[in-house]
Amino acid sequence: MNINATLIGEAIWFAVFIWITMKYVWPPLAKAMADRQKLIADGLAAGERGKHELELAGKRSADALRDAKAKAAEIIAAAEKRGAQMVEEAKLTAKVEADKVVVAAKAEIAQQVEQARAELRGRVADLAVAGAEQILKREVDAKAHAEMLTALKQEL
């Protein structure tokens, strides 16, 4: 156990190794570890955020689904109502149209009856004149009897 210059040599080694550690070993390792810590913390936070967003999206989609269902039901109800209304309207239109047709037909019939009647009246007057000619067998002045015949026509 003798102390000598080896002590100085070992102190120099010690200083050299401290310097290496201080400059090249500890700072990069400490930085890598701190960075990794941050990376992991960020990752965990992102995961948490993603989970939360998923929850929100689920809620939103459920809401949208419910809204869509309600809207569809509404639309179907409206369509049914409208359909019924249209059927009703069509019925009404058809009835009106039918009435119109009936009225027109009746009017035509009445007109035709009137026409036939007028025709008949003319014919009846001629027939009466021919009959009277036959019966009287003599010249009868048609003009002189026209007044009387017209009166007869009116009676028919």
């Binding site: 000598n4 210059a5 080896t6 002590l7 070992e10 050299v16």
Partner: protein, 256 residues
């Protein structure tokens, strides 16, 4: 062992405890201590520096994970004890722990292995455990002591440091007593630090040498002692590091 010498027990022991030296008087250098400690330190710290230069914040490789585990364990010890701001303390603690651990671990190489191997090559003596050389332990502890004193001045200022030296623990009226106490305390620090490590490793090495003298009986004895010694190797490295941190924290915190 040089051939031709009588193989007595004491000669064997003395041979194992003799350093390989160059130079005379104070300027003697223990080449074995310097070479082994230097090689271990260079391999360990340059290796760690190379690894650290490729360290990624992403998924670490196995070696990186191991080194990170080690240094973050040491960093945790530093954070728990030392509350100053010096960027020197954590690297110093890492250096001490890793270096002392590796040098102590040289104790696990069978005691005759390296001296015999080098003996064949013509090297007469080789003490393979550098921590059994008080020059190394004092070299480290005195360096720690110097850092401690410098840090005391830096953190507290000259006035604050002197105030602490003369007034703690008994107040200004007993200044000489305080100074004496402080001197004893501070001188005891490097001495106890270095002699604790030296004593433990020297004694451990001695037991290995004595076991090696037992002939066949060394077989059942060397293994248990080596296993037990693993504890001492780690513990002494940890104690040296921990006390250094404590001294740094004492130097940078005012106790008055």
């Amino acid at each position: 062992m040089a051939s031709g010498e009588p193989l007595t027990s004491s000669a064997y022991i003395v041979h194992h405890l003799t350093n390989l030296t160059v130079g005379q008087g104070f300027w003697t250098l223990h080449l074995d201590s310097l070479i082994v400690s230097g090689l271990l330190g260079l391999v360990a710290f340059l290796g760690m520096a190379k690894l650290a230069s490729r360290a990624t914040p992403g998924v670490p490789g196995k070696m990186q994970a191991f080194v990170e585990m080690l240094v973050s364990f040491i960093d945790q010890q530093v954070k728990d004890t030392y509350h100053g701001k010096s960027p020197l303390v954590t690297p110093m603690a890492i250096t001490i722990f890793v270096w002392v651990l590796l040098m102590n671990a040289m104790d696990l190489i069978p005691v005759d292995f390296v001296p015999m191997l080098l003996g064949v090559a013509g090297v007469p003596y080789f003490k393979v455990v550098p921590t059994t050389d008080p020059n190394l332990t004092f070299g480290m502890s005195l360096s720690v002591f110097v850092v401690m004193i410098v840090m005391g001045f830096k953190v507290k200022g000259f006035g604050g440091f002197m105030h602490e030296v003369f007034t703690v623990p008994f107040g200004a009226k007993l200044a000489p007593v305080n100074l004496l106490f402080r001197l004893i305390e501070d001188i005891a620090k490097p001495i106890s630090l270095s002699l604790r490590l030296f004593g433990n490793m020297y004694a451990g090495e001695m037991v290995f040498i004595l076991i090696a003298l037992l002939g066949l009986w060394q077989l059942p004895l060397a293994l248990p002692w080596a296993l037990f010694h693993i504890l001492i190797i780690t513990l002494q490295a940890f104690v040296f590091m921990m006390l250094t941190i404590v001294y740094m924290s004492m130097a940078s915190e005012s106790h008055g």
